[in-house]
Symmetry: C2
Subunit: 369 residues, 2 copies
DNA sequence: TTGAAAGCGCTACCAG
DNA sequence: CTGGTAGCGCTTTCAA
């Protein structure tokens, strides 16, 4: 079924006995058109179900009202919820979205693939997207390959690009770094208030910026609290449930003592909890758990997961509006303060959960100094 | 930052001292071009980082190499995994994807919104997508609103459209109905083999095709097995964890006896299990659970969830290739048999899980007659 | 207000 | 093999 595109602006013009310029005018409502001509045109449009060809329009206007969203894996709940919020904002601004999954990293989801990211960068140039949003992928690495940097630079040279992550020098996009490690700090503080001193860190991938930021925050709070840092308590994973399982398995095999752990996100927490269960340990009776990044459904797990709400919705808003501004040559930074929020549920102990109020206040007080 | 589009085909032509026709030829590699001209052109392309404008190309070729994917909610793991697989196939065929979330239905995610679906249908026409994939949304309802039907018909009149679901008369798209209720049958059979006779059905939304198909399958198997049907054992929900919770709550309040239940998917199962836990019931000791639609991570829940793998990957393949064929005017139906697979884990009893082999054989045998 | 006409950047046909 | 050129469908001057 080939597209039946025989109905176009000149057909409408002919049908209604006006010039195509006039049809264009009623289409865009820019310049006034006499009432009777307008009606004839509208009738013809209705009759033929005419829709102007946006390709032709974009060719002239040099804008497609389309944005590209490039991320590793939409089946990861973090990216999915980000996308939903991005779409909501983009739609409100009149933009549609291309979604590109680069599948970079993540033990469960195929091999790292730098080329695929570069492929999508070029694709967005090709498709004449008005702007591009990049969330995660190689940009999250502490150091990126030169190929990647060049591909990203090429993209940023051609289009407005907003990147969630730490700035890569000399590429020219707009970088928005969200993670501050504040969530981890609250988590460690909370666990300490609960009496834990041996707190493991089931972290993200090695070499990833967010891992470093969170690990730094973890060490700093430990130091503030006078808890000795123990390298053995750090195990790396990535962002998926199987990685959480294997990380915990390594931790248990290493035979270090610990009574609590912080995990990268809820998926990792779930995997780790499953592993603990397989070894006869029960959460929260034998072990307290906090996740750094809460997913939907945390409140329905058994045990209900205590964790940090990073307020990604707000991040999505900022990111979209920064991009839209950049497209419109507005370069005032869009800023809003995002404060990660500790949501206390059961995974650090039900009994202790009643201390919620005390805990939070104590943490706040602690942060003041 | 406006796009800097000053570099175009005629610049390249001028730079390399050939006609734009020749540049076009090396760009597309269709017609042979003499070696030295080709090299000069390639040098110029390299020098200016020239990329042909796909808008102009699409305007002539009347194809954009772009597909639209319209679904309710990408943060629902079912749709996310479908999308990943769709993208994999689409990419292999040279297509990029628009993603449109219609948020139709789903208690956790905003109000039903017919207009949004129609909006995206029109958008895909406007964006000149080469084809559209529709998965879920109002098309899943047993009966659709006339507004919706008209909007869908308009889309199908303009573009090749593949719809996952039951055929709606007189709209003209290609409908692919996946669900047969076979998964539910295996589930009930399995539970029966385990000795359960009071099996609740924590189903989907009322008025939805898949709910009806699964409910019919449930009743049929019950009848085959000589188990009396009890209306009270049916509670409706939707596809999210909170709905699973509240459905189970209603079931418990109604005070009917049951020793097992089937849930719409893993999210619903999780919510229901959480509710049971809150009422002092433990899975699988007090209650057996099977989910009709397995999500990633099922194997890491506590208890590990027994459920049906519906093999959505295969469905995604079929759907993409059917659409691509339709775009190329090939109308042989792409068909492949998708057999839902019962994955036995712990949620129907760990001890019983060792009977896996027996169970499956028995079910197969049962289906033969 | 309106129409004619000049493109947007590219492909594809027609001569040569 | 190659160049000239006629559009693709639309917007936007420029005159009228």
């Amino acid at each position: 079924m080939r597209k039946k595109e025989e109905v176009n602006i000149s057909l409408i013009a002919k049908e209604s006995g006006v010039s195509i310029a006039t049809v264009s005018r009623v289409l865009n409502g820019t310049v006034p058109v006499s009432a009777d001509k307008r009606q004839r045109v509208e009738a013809a449009i209705e009759k033929y179900h005419f829709t102007p060809n946006s390709l032709a329009r974009s060719l002239i206007r040099k804008e497609t009202k389309t944005l590209g969203v490039i991320l590793p894996d939409i089946s990861n709940p973090y990216f999915a919820s980000m996308f939903m919020e991005i779409e909501r904002n983009a739609l409100a601004e009149g933009y549609s979205l291309f979604l590109c999954n680069t599948l970079y990293g993540g033990s469960s989801h195929g091999i790292p693939n730098t080329r695929k990211e570069a492929y999508f960068f070029d694709l967005m140039i090709d498709k004449q997207a008005d702007g591009v949003l990049i969330i995660g992928g190689q940009v999250d690495m502490l150091s990126v390959e030169e190929d990647y940097r060049l591909a990203l630079k090429k993209l940023c040279d051609r289009l407005p690009v907003v990147i969630v992550g730490k700035e890569i020098p000399d590429v020219g996009g707009i970088f928005i770094q969200n993670e501050t490690g504040f969530g981890v700090s609250s988590a460690v503080n909370y666990l300490h208030l609960l009496g834990h001193n041996r707190i493991a860190f089931v972290g993200g991938q090695p070499g990833v910026t967010i891992t470093k930021i969170r690990l730094d925050a973890y060490r700093n709070v430990l130091e503030e609290l006078g808890i000795p840092f123990d390298e053995q308590l750090i195990v790396l994973s990535d962002y998926y449930v199987d990685a959480g399982y294997s990380a915990m398995e390594r931790l248990l095999k290493s035979n270090v003592d610990f009574t609590a752990f912080i995990s990268m996100n809820d998926s990792v927490a779930l995997g780790a909890i499953r592993c603990l269960a397989d070894h006869g340990y029960c959460v929260p009776q034998d072990m307290a758990v906090i996740s750094c990044d809460q997913f939907a459904g945390a409140a329905y797990q058994t045990p209900r997961l205590t964790g940090i709400n990073q307020h990604h919705e707000t991040l999505a808003d900022i990111v979209v509006h920064t991009l839209v501004n950049a497209i419109n040559d507005i370069h005032e930074p869009v800023s809003r303060i995002i404060t990660p929020e500790l949501i206390i549920r059961e995974s650090c102990g039900t009994a202790l959960a009643s201390k919620t109020h005390f805990g939070i206040n104590a943490i706040q007080a602690n942060r003041q100094k």
